[in-house]
Structure formats: C-alpha cells, structure tokens
C-alpha cells in the first residue's frame, strides 16, 4: 500500500493506491475521486454494537468501504472542512486516540471504536469522547487548520478543543490551568476562556490543530439574522 498527502496544511488530500482486492474504509463522504474499478459499500462495520460505539465517539454509524476489483485502483480522501491530514502506521503496540471528528480513513486490520471517558470527557464540555484506533495497518486523521506534532517528553497542556489525536502511551487528564484553579484565582477560571485543558504526561506524541471550528462558529453566529418575533 502506498499513499501521498498533498496540499498540506490547508487543503490536505490523501491519495491511496490499492492493490487488487484490497479494501479501505473511511468516514462517509470523505471520498473525493476514485478509479472506476473501485466498489463502494456503506455498512455498519463491525456490527451494530461497534457502530453505536463509534456513534458515541461523535462519528457516523456508517462506514464507507472501498474495494479495488480486478486490478489496482486509486482513491483520494478529503475531510469536509479545509485543513490538514496525517498518516499513522499502527503496529499493534501503540493505539491512537482521536478527538471527535478527526477520523478520516483506515486500511484493513485497523479497528475504530469509542472510548468512554467517564467524567473526564463529560466535564470538558468539548466532547472529549475519544475514538480509539487499534490494530495493524494505516490510519489517516484530519483537522481544521494545520496539524502540529508535539513530542511529549515533559508534560504539556493542550486546550481540549485543539486536540486532534495522541498516542496511547501518554497519560492524560482534563484539568484547569495553574493559577486558574477555583479558590486561587476565580477570574482565570471563569473569565480566562482557557479554563479546561488536557494535561499530557509520559512519553508519546500529541497532534494539535491550529484552529477550532467551535470558535469560528461563535464568530459566525453574530452575523446570523435575528428572528423577528410576531
């Protein structure tokens, strides 16, 4: 399997070469172009329970599957929003956690499920309900804005809305910034706007995005027409 990612970081496009009989999976609607011998199937991959689990992770219940029939084929994937995309080769030893909406595509051998975050995810308000990618194979994930890789050796804080993905070797905890803890400086917590962050510790990689759709939507909101009351 070979692939390229072009037009980074603003309009990333993933191109995958499939061998005869090989299958690839993606979120619905991610396919931009494909060879005519590629067959598309939409399914509740992994059965109903696995699909519901993905649904809890903020992704579609449906997975699109593309199989190259009677020869090689080429397929390109792009996310709905403009932004970046990255590849990660899963080898069975390390899993990848993906933030809501970050899943793009995967090869056979990779399983995508959701991971219940308990109160950590609930508390963050950013839907830190993560998808987990596990297995052996290729994974592609996407962002809004560019993706920046942070190699964590020392601890790092990431605003929960900017997390794209991270390696399962890292420990993480949703917390508040120092100085922003209740009782020490209430203003920072409530007015700081940066109240909730994820603290990563241990060794591993975190991928962050440079823009956030939620803040963009807040900006757009003020341009909505105001409904006239009758």
């Amino acid at each position: 399997m070979s692939f390229t990612i072009t037009q980074r970081p603003d309009f990333a496009l993933v191109t995958v070469q499939l061998q005869s009989g090989q299958t690839y999976h993606s979120e619905p609607g991610a396919m931009a172009t494909m060879s005519p011998n590629i067959e598309l199937k939409a399914s509740l991959k992994g059965g109903l329970m696995s699909s519901i689990s993905r649904g809890l992770g903020g992704e579609s219940l449906i997975i699109s599957s593309y199989t190259s029939k009677g020869g090689e084929g080429e397929i390109t994937f792009a996310a709905g929003q403009p932004g970046d995309a990255l590849h990660y080769a899963l080898d069975g030893s390390t899993d990848i956690y993906l933030q809501r909406g970050a899943y793009l595509a995967n090869s056979e051998g990779v399983e995508i499920t959701s991971k219940w975050q308990g109160m950590r995810g609930f508390f963050s308000g950013e839907g830190l309900i993560l998808l987990k990618a596990h297995g052996n194979g290729d994974l592609f994930f996407n962002s809004y804005g560019a993706i920046i890789e942070l190699d964590v050796e020392d601890d790092v804080y990431v605003d929960t809305g900017f997390i794209v993905a991270f390696e399962s070797t890292l420990n993480y905890q949703v917390t508040t910034l120092p100085g922003a803890r209740p009782g020490t400086n209430w203003k920072s917590l409530f007015l700081g706007g940066e109240g909730l962050v994820c603290r990563f510790s241990g060794r591993g990689k975190v991928w962050i995005q440079t823009r956030q759709i939620a803040t963009y939507l807040n900006w757009v909101h003020r341009y909505r027409p105001v409904q006239k009351s009758n």
């Binding site: 970081p9 603003d10 403009p82 932004g83 970046d84 804005g145 560019a146 920046i148 942070l150 020392d154 601890d155 790092v156 804080y157 990431v158 605003d159 900017f162 910034l177 120092p178 100085g179 922003a180 400086n185 203003k187 920072s188 007015l191 700081g192 706007g193 940066e194 603290r199 975190v206 962050i208 440079t210 823009r211 956030q212 803040t215 963009y216 807040n218 900006w219 757009v220 909101h221 003020r222 341009y223 909505r224 027409p225 105001v226 409904q227």
Partner: protein
C-alpha cells in the same frame, strides 16, 4: 524570548519559547498548547472609555465590552506556549522600540508585558464602522508584539497619503495622522460601491493591512444562515 511562526500563511500560529521569569501577555482564548511550568493570571482591559468598578466590570463582561487578557509567566527555563487566532489567516511579529502601534481589537494576539495596552483608545471612533465589537488597542513601549489577520497580512510603508478600507486595517504606527472619511465623492456612491468608510493616512509610518475584511465575509454568510432568537 524566542518565537517561531508555524503553518503560514492560512493556519498560522506562533510558538513562543520562554525562560524562567519571562512573561507574555495574550488575548484570552488564544492559548492552543503550552508547557506545564507556567502560571496564568487573568486581568481585564476596558474597551472604549467608561467608568470602572466591579459591578460595572461585570456588566461590561456580559456585554462583551471588556478585553480579557492572560498573563503567562515561565517558572523555569525551556518553556513554550503556542498561540493561535480564531480566523483563518496569518500571524505577524512587530518589534516596538519606544513607539506606539494602534492595533485593531480582533488582531491583537500577544505582546511583551513591558508594552502598555490601552483598549479604551477611541481615536478612530467605535460605532462608526466595522460593525459591533470594533475597538482599538493602543500598544506603547518597547518589546515584541504579535498580531493576526483574516487572510494574508501585508505591511504598507506610507510616505505621504494612503487610503485603506477600515475593514482591512490590522494596525498602524501612531506617527501617522489619520481621518475616517467616505470613499467616494458622495455618500450614496460610497455605500453603493461597497466601500462605506475608508481611513486616509498621512505622514510617514507603517500600516499593516489584511487581504480580507472579516465583516464583509460575515455579511455575505449571514443571509444563508438560520435566524437566531436574539
């Protein structure tokens, strides 16, 4: 303090590296990620000139009339912070050397705490143009300053007279004289031409301009959006 601007020009963020005891003053909500040996403190700055007091401050807060500022302080060497704006666009660095730069409110991203920030500057008028939430930040002193733009950012070295549409101004040096005027000979012509108000700069100094006007973009989106209740 060292800095690096990443993912230019559409998804730009700035990574600022700080040693023990170094400070940075940032727009609230701009923090994307940072190392953990930093402390944060939130303060407010009045937008536009008006009285003080806690109750008035709270009122302004809910009216969205205050500029919230976070002060980050490195507690040990080798710390860093990554800052990103809301909109798609660039980040630019400007070095102030005992000078004053007037920055459009939404474009001010971060600055050296030695730079005095005054968000009550009203030299350009407030309600006059650029829609709601328009304000200007007067930055005086010496140190590093970071600004962001919607679209690309480009400096214009004015020597004589120069006209910039008010929605395209990111910042300008106060060595310039300026006055807001209509773009055409008549008011009707100015507004029908879509160039309601422009700023005429006179003298010698730099004007930072942005390629796109955020409120034009917002206004073009508005009619396609669902009405809001209020």
């Amino acid at each position: 303090m060292q800095y690096e601007i990443l993912a230019r020009p559409a998804s730009s963020v700035v990574k600022v590296s700080m040693n023990q005891g170094e400070h940075l003053t940032c727009e609230v909500g701009a923090m994307v990620a940072m190392s953990t040996r930093m402390t944060v403190e939130t303060t407010t700055q009045k937008k536009g000139a008006s009285g003080g007091g806690i109750m008035k401050g709270l009122k302004r807060l809910f009216a969205g009339e205050s500029l919230f500022i976070n002060h980050f302080t490195a507690q040990s060497d080798g710390q860093y912070i990554i800052l990103g704006p809301t909109m798609m666009g660039d980040v630019v660095h400007h070095r102030l050397d005992n000078a004053t730069l007037i920055v459009q409110g939404g474009s001010w991203l971060a600055s050296d705490p030695d730079i005095e920030i005054d968000a009550s500057f009203q030299g350009l008028g407030k309600a006059f143009f650029s829609g709601e939430g328009a304000f200007w930040v007067k930055c005086s002193g010496s140190g590093d300053l970071f600004m962001n733009s919607f679209g690309a950012i480009y400096p214009v070295e004015v020597d004589g007279d120069y006209i910039v549409d008010t929605g395209h101004i990111v910042a300008f040096e106060d060595t310039l004289n300026f006055n807001v005027q209509k773009a055409g000979a008549s008011w009707i012509g100015s507004f029908l031409g879509g160039e309601g108000l422009v700023c005429r700069f006179q003298g010698k100094g730099i004007v930072y301009c942005q390629s796109h006007n955020p409120s034009s973009f917002g206004s073009s989106l508005g009619p396609s959006l669902k009405p809001r209740q209020s």
